[in-house]
């Protein structure tokens, strides 16, 4: 399986739609343990991304991802802007010049994205952040691709791993981000960034399944 530039753009726009649909959910999750804007932030960012992608002239997927990253950085603000922005900007580097990407590229993209988020946010898994969804998702992806599993299975397992990560965040106290100010009081709530990460991976799974069908 592989994705063309147009399909990548389509996929990114689908992510935008998903985040728009879940704007209230993410905002409410953030309201419980943060400042109640994560849905607003993500939606603002991906609305800008979608607009940028409407006019984009390149086939270079590296360029496309870099545009996404820069657009997020310069439109979101808050914590999620630099984090997701850095993730896309770092990911862009490993597919620079490519007009088509495959599963192995996706592994590298995810690896760089997770690295970028760690570098920017200095969090580790267990801190109750988006990393708690993304790191197990990446590990699952890496393993499944090694094992040459069918793409649909792989992407399904990846988003399931992210969902498990989300559920894990419900059980722990936050050590990074705004929720950390609540200490123990943050236990019992899902991390909004972990949920948005899951939603992105779930959209990738569903969209690519559709493209394949």
């Amino acid at each position: 399986m592989s994705l063309t530039s147009n399909q990548t753009i389509l996929l990114l726009k689908e992510i935008g739609k998903t985040l728009e649909e879940h704007k209230t959910l993410l905002t409410e999750l953030d309201g419980a343990i943060g400042d109640g804007d994560h849905g607003i932030n993500m939606n603002k960012g991906f609305t800008a991304v979608t607009k940028k992608l409407d006019d984009i002239q390149t086939e270079d997927i590296g360029h496309i991802l870099k545009t996404v990253g820069m657009t997020l950085v310069s439109n979101v603000g808050g914590a999620s802007g630099p984090l997701y922005g850095t993730a896309f900007m770092k990911a862009a580097v490993v597919v620079a010049g490519k007009n088509e990407i495959d599963l192995h590229d996706f592994v590298k993209i995810m690896e760089e994205a997770v690295e970028g988020i760690k570098m920017r946010g200095k969090a580790v898994p267990g801190d109750k952040t988006m990393l708690d969804a993304l790191e197990p998702a990446y590990n699952t992806l890496y393993q499944a691709v090694e094992e040459n599993q069918p793409i649909e299975d792989i992407l399904k397992k990846v988003k399931d791993a992210a969902l498990q990560g989300v559920q894990y965040t419900e059980k722990i106290a936050a050590k990074k981000g705004r929720a950390s100010y609540l200490g123990e009081r943050s236990i019992g709530h899902q991390d909004p960034g972990a949920v948005s990460s899951y939603l992105i991976l779930d959209t990738i799974y569903k969209t690519i399944r559709n493209i394949k069908d």
Binding site: T27, D35, G36, V73, G77, K175, R185
Partner: protein, 332 residues
């Protein structure tokens, strides 16, 4: 949601237009950016102080732009850190050879966005350094966590580092005195009511008619815990004991006190709080060198207050007393 605004999505831009229209003698807004800079900034040959953060904390930070305090303030969306490109524009607008000091409140978003802006500016060979304010003792500190938030104590950093910059201190000197203020400032607050982000349209949490939230941040986030509402004296004592637990004071120590309103608290109540704060400090033999009472670092229309204590030495005293002329903070 009851607010005197137009469209929620324009509230920051509307505010900055209204602000620059109100204070042309102090500041101007950069075209196309949510940044206000000192009117007389050009070729000042002094270290420039840049601060900012999410909006909703007015007068912080635009109200502190002027002589002896900030050179530029960047306004993000309400309670959302400004983006690196906005911060970068602010830095560029006020930077000269003396360099720029960023005063950042310790929130993940602020820290990361300012950090990225700093990287952008450094890539253009602009001399930039930064300090991170973390005065809120409500939050337990640890090297493994985000650490403490920056709240009202930030104003002391603006004032004192601003005075040092105005006096032509070098970038490292200005940074050093800012770090000294940070090391000697502790704050903590309580809230009687939440606040509503215009774009969200409803409050983040609710409080019962007899409840208060303790250890609130300044972004409508819930605090560390919730209790029955207490008397002003009890609130003052509770906040002060946490603050002094963090940075104990000795008899004969000198301090500056700030009783900061969060937006909807009558000045009357802040003075009532000060009565007890002042009396308690005096009982301990601490000398209150200066007291600041009012809305300095607000949280939209939240009802509540914070208390900040800055331990002073001779240098800090003289910088605190130095002339300042900004819309929201003046020392003659």
């Amino acid at each position: 949601m009851k607010k005197i605004i137009n469209k929620p999505e324009n509230v920051v831009a509307d505010m900055l237009t209204g602000m620059s229209a109100a204070h042309p003698e102090y500041l101007k807004k950069l075209d196309n950016f949510n940044v206000v800079v000192r009117k007389d900034t050009a070729a000042s040959q002094k270290v420039a102080l840049v601060s900012g953060g999410g909006s909703g904390h007015e007068p912080a930070h635009g109200g502190f732009v002027g002589k002896g305090m900030l050179d530029a303030a960047v306004a993000g969306d309400v309670f959302t850190s400004p983006t690196p490109d906005q911060i970068y524009e602010a830095i560029k607008a006020v930077a000269d050879e003396a360099g720029v000091l960023l005063v950042i409140k310790n929130y993940t978003g602020d820290v990361m966005n300012f950090e990225m802006a700093q990287e952008m500016a450094e890539a253009e060979d602009i001399k930039v350094d930064s300090v991170v304010v973390n005065d809120d003792v409500a939050v337990e500190n640890s090297t493994y966590t985000t650490g403490r938030r920056g709240i009202a104590g930030t104003i002391f950093v603006h004032k004192i580092a601003g005075a040092k910059a105005e006096a032509k201190g070098s970038l490292s000197e200005v940074k050093a005195v800012a770090e000294k203020v940070i090391a000697n400032t502790s704050s903590m607050g309580i809230a009687l009511s939440p606040c509503i982000v215009p774009a969200a349209g409803k409050a983040n949490f609710t409080l019962g008619e007899d409840e208060m939230e303790v250890g609130m941040g300044i972004h409508g986030e819930p605090g560390t815990h919730r209790t029955k509402i207490k008397s002003a004296d009890e609130i003052a004592e509770q906040l002060l004991s946490k603050i002094l637990g963090d940075k104990p004071l000795q008899s004969h120590d000198e301090v500056a006190v700030m009783i900061n309103g969060l937006g909807a608290t009558p000045l009357m109540e802040l003075y009532v709080v000060n009565k007890k704060v002042n009396a308690t400090l005096k009982e301990k033999g601490v000398k209150v060198y200066k007291t600041f009472i009012g809305n300095y670092m607000t949280s939209l229309e939240m009802a509540g207050c914070s208390v900040s204590i800055l331990k002073l030495d001779e240098e800090l005293k003289s910088l605190l007393d130095a002339k300042a002329d900004t819309p929201a903070f003046k020392v003659l």
